[in-house]
Symmetry: C2
Subunit: 235 residues, 2 copies
DNA sequence: CAGTGGTCTAGACCACCGG
DNA sequence: CGGTGGTCTAGACCACTGC
């Protein structure tokens, strides 16, 4: 027996063992593995326990399960990386740096076509437009260009954004339930370089984000990170 | 009653209802919500069903659960976005484009310090170094600079990479179980511009990835995407 | 210590879908 | 049709941890 002396039958134990068999290629990609009932017998636990273990692995993309067809080891283990999208203030303070921000622009304006499309607006309605620089230890951290659908969120028009950045105000006041994210890279224009305090043409990471709440498009924002910014994750 | 006429007690039903109450701020961020037992009574189902529903919401970051303390609506709903990391060939063919690749460089070399660190090598060992351009409809798609820990994966030295790109060879032959990802933005150097067929100084999205298998560092790769490439995800 | 979530069980029924 | 996973249940015990 390669099993440890701990014979308790927890779903974690089962999951670890199955994961091991996959990574050691005891069960190879594409292979059909035993039914839940068989595994339950083998591991000496209830089928529900096996189900819990296998469901987790299927969610993680390691297994593919279909009724009647059974459970197979995924051919292309879909590698997933998960980003957490923190509030900018927390991201900066979490690094032990001093957080600050400065609003450069606040106006009502009809947004450009791409933003209109993302916010599902019809092109004649002016909405709130903000440009904000967030700083870490007084150095430019990220430059935010934000459009807020002030038709869906009229309260935002009376927000001062003096103590609370637009970012935090929205997190606090509006319950998001979804969004789109797009990463890209650009070279800094003269204007962007000036704001971020970098050289013309430096490579910058860009994140475009649109958030919605129950089919109402709330805000569309472009974050321009300072040069050298690296967004990291693991899986 | 706002409840639909469908009174079946499935965990999905419960989860949807709870999600609704959160998004409608019936239960506000920071609020303590009823125990599982109470909710089970309210929804007319078993506690296990409620548990399944709430566990899902906790995993998603919407709830915070602690024994004895109970379940609270998360103050800062941690927004997560999930990336799937497809095989490049599948990503290209999935768009209906013709996939191709060309290996520019294949050599054994002692990697630079940053790669050594990521692969946990000691600085004297030459390993496999590859530079590959992947094309979509014959146009440059992504330029890959890859270091493979050929000490951990000696088989790679006999791989031809004629039919199978380094990317796919590794996916097929080595069982990954984790990795690090870092996104950044750079401006194309003259050399990079030449390979990717773009202008000097254009902004590019860069993905650095290091994958491991059970504490063995397998490969470290830098992907330089063509200008205009956008990596998209939603949550 | 006692309340709360975490988990296991044995059995049951059902939905889906491959052969 | 029948095998497989998906889910529910009622009850039980346990592990944490706030009070």
């Amino acid at each position: 027996m390669l099993v440890t002396d701990d014979d308790r039958k927890t779903w974690q134990t089962v999951q670890d063992e199955v994961r091991l068999r996959i990574s050691q290629r005891v069960w190879k990609p594409g292979d059909l593995i035993p039914h839940e009932a068989d595994l339950a017998t083998e591991f000496g636990c209830a089928r529900a326990t096996v189900n819990r273990a296998l469901r987790g692995l299927a969610d993680a993309g390691l297994l593919e399960r279909r009724r009647k067809a059974g459970t197979r080891v995924a051919l292309n283990p879909v590698r997933r990386a998960e980003f957490s999208i923190p509030v900018i203030r927390e991201e900066i303070e979490g690094r032990g740096q001093r957080y600050g921000y400065k609003i450069f622009l606040r106006e009502m304006r009809v947004p450009p076509p791409d933003v209109q499309a993302r916010l599902q607006l019809d092109g004649t309605q002016p909405i709130l437009h903000l440009q904000t620089l967030y700083t870490a230890d007084n150095r430019p951290y990220v430059f935010e260009t934000r459009w807020i659908n002030s038709i869906a969120v009229p309260d935002v028009l009376s927000a001062e954004f003096e103590k609370l950045s637009p970012n935090e105000w929205l997190v606090r006041e509006v319950a998001f339930d979804g969004g789109d994210f797009t990463f890209s890279g650009i070279a800094a224009t003269e204007q962007e370089a000036a704001v971020l305090g970098c050289k013309l043409g430096e490579g910058l990471l860009v994140l475009d984000r649109t958030t919605r709440q129950a089919d109402r498009m709330i805000t569309s924002v472009r974050l321009l990170f300072h040069p050298g910014y690296r967004m990291h994750t693991r899986c």
